[in-house]
C-alpha cells in the first residue's frame, strides 16, 4: 500500500515539474502574440480615455504625391509634468525665456494687457486682393483669421486661443512665457479647435478634447 502512495507521489511530482517547466512557454507565446494583434486597425486598438484627462490632438493630412498623414495625441497633464524636466537653451522649469518682451519693437505684455482689458471686438481687419486678415476678441477668445488669396489656390488659417491661456502664458516674469501655466489653463477649457490651416495641399488641425483617439 505504501509503495503505491510512493509511486503516486513520484508520478505527481514528475507531472507537476513538467507542467511548471513548460509554463514559461505560455508566457512567451503571449509575448509573441502581441505583435500579431498590432495588425488590428487603430480605431479598434485605441481605447477612449474614460477619465477627465484632456488631450491635445494634432492632425496633418497632406494630399500631395506623398500623401502624408501625421497624427499626434498628447495628454495635457503629461506635457505639464514633462515640461519642467526640460532644461535646454531657453526652456527652464516649463518657462521659455524671451530676450525681452519686445519682439520687433512690439511690447507683447502691454499688447496682451490691452487686449485683456478691452471689450469684445475686432482689432484688425484687412481686406485686400491678396489676403484678408481679421484679429478679434470674441467670447473670451482671441481669434486670428487669415485668408490668403494670392494664388488661385486659396489657403486659410484660423487660430482661436482662450484669453485665459494667453493670460497664463504671460503670467511668469517679465521676459518669460509660462508654458506650464498655459497648458494648465488650456486643460480647464472645454472641447475646442485651436488651430485650423487649410490649403490646396495640406490640412492641419490642432484641437482639444477628452478622447485619446483622433476622429
Amino acid at each position: 500500500m505504501l509503495d503505491r502512495y510512493k509511486i503516486l507521489f513520484a508520478r505527481t511530482a514528475l507531472i507537476a515539474t513538467t507542467a511548471l517547466l513548460l509554463s514559461p512557454l505560455g508566457t512567451l507565446a503571449q509575448a509573441t502574440a502581441a505583435p500579431a494583434s498590432s495588425i488590428q486597425s487603430s480605431s479598434e486598438r485605441a481605447t477612449t480615455s474614460a477619465s477627465k484627462d484632456r488631450w491635445l490632438h494634432v492632425r496633418v493630412i497632406s494630399s500631395d504625391a506623398k500623401g502624408e498623414t501625421v497624427r499626434v495625441n498628447v495628454p495635457l497633464e503629461l506635457a505639464e509634468r514633462v515640461l519642467p524636466a526640460i532644461h535646454q537653451d531657453r526652456i527652464h522649469d516649463g518657462k521659455v525665456k524671451i530676450d525681452n518682451a519686445h519682439v520687433n519693437d512690439v511690447d507683447l505684455r502691454a499688447l496682451v494687457d490691452a487686449i485683456r482689458t478691452t471689450k469684445d471686438g475686432e482689432f484688425v481687419t484687412v481686406q485686400s486682393n491678396d489676403c484678408d486678415v481679421r484679429v478679434a476678441k470674441q467670447s473670451n477668445h482671441l481669434i486670428v483669421h487669415v485668408l490668403d488669396k494670392q494664388n488661385s489656390k486659396k489657403s486659410e488659417v484660423e487660430i482661436k486661443v482662450p484669453m485665459k491661456v494667453i493670460d497664463a502664458l504671460f503670467s511668469a516674469g517679465k521676459d518669460e512665457l509660462d508654458l506650464v501655466a498655459a497648458l494648465h489653463a488650456l486643460s480647464t477649457q472645454g472641447d475646442t479647435e485651436l488651430v485650423s490651416v487649410k490649403d490646396h495641399e495640406n490640412t492641419v488641425r490642432v484641437w482639444l478634447d477628452s478622447k485619446n483617439v483622433t476622429d
Partner: protein, 145 residues
C-alpha cells in the same frame, strides 16, 4: 524513482521560480530588418527584469561617462514614462505615407515603436516599468546633470 522525482521537483521548482522572477516584467523585444545588400537583421529578446538587474553590475565610473545630451534626456524620459503609465493604451504618434509607417504607442504597459519602411523594419517593445527602473538607476548613479 522517488529520488529522481524529488530531484526533478527541486530543480524544476528552482528553475520556474528563477524564470518567473526574470520574466515578471515581460520581455524587451527588438527586431531590426534592413532589406538591402549586407543589411543587418537583429532579433533580440531580453527578459525586461534582467536589464535593470544587469545595470547594478556596471561600475559607477562607466555610468559617469554618459554624454551631456544623455544626462539631459534621462530626467525627461523618466518624467514621460512615469506619466505614460497612468494612461490607457494610446497611439501617441502615427506618421503614414506611401513609403513608411511610423507608430509610437503604449499597449498593456509597454512602449511600442514600429517603423515599417520599404528598406527597413524596426520594431521595439519595452515595458514602461523597465524604462522607469533604468532611468531611476541612471539618475542615481550617473553624474549630476
Amino acid at each position: 524513482m522517488m529520488l529522481l522525482a524529488k530531484a526533478a521537483l527541486t530543480v524544476g521548482g528552482t528553475l520556474v521560480l528563477a524564470g518567473a522572477y526574470t520574466m515578471r516584467e515581460g520581455v524587451i523585444r527588438i527586431d531590426v530588418d534592413e532589406y538591402r545588400a549586407g543589411g543587418s537583421h537583429v532579433h533580440m529578446w531580453v527578459p525586461a527584469a534582467a536589464v535593470p538587474m544587469a545595470l547594478h553590475f556596471v561600475p559607477d565610473k562607466h555610468m559617469h561617462h554618459m554624454s551631456h545630451d544623455a544626462r539631459q534626456a534621462v530626467p525627461i524620459l523618466h518624467a514621460i514614462v512615469k506619466e505614460l503609465k497612468k494612461y490607457p493604451d494610446t497611439e501617441f504618434v502615427e506618421v503614414d505615407d506611401h513609403d513608411q509607417h511610423v507608430r509610437i504607442r503604449t499597449q498593456r504597459g509597454r512602449l511600442q515603436i514600429d517603423v515599417d519602411a520599404r528598406d527597413q523594419k524596426v520594431h521595439v517593445l519595452c515595458p514602461l516599468s523597465t524604462i522607469e527602473d533604468l532611468t531611476i538607476q541612471l539618475e542615481e548613479h550617473g553624474p549630476a546633470a
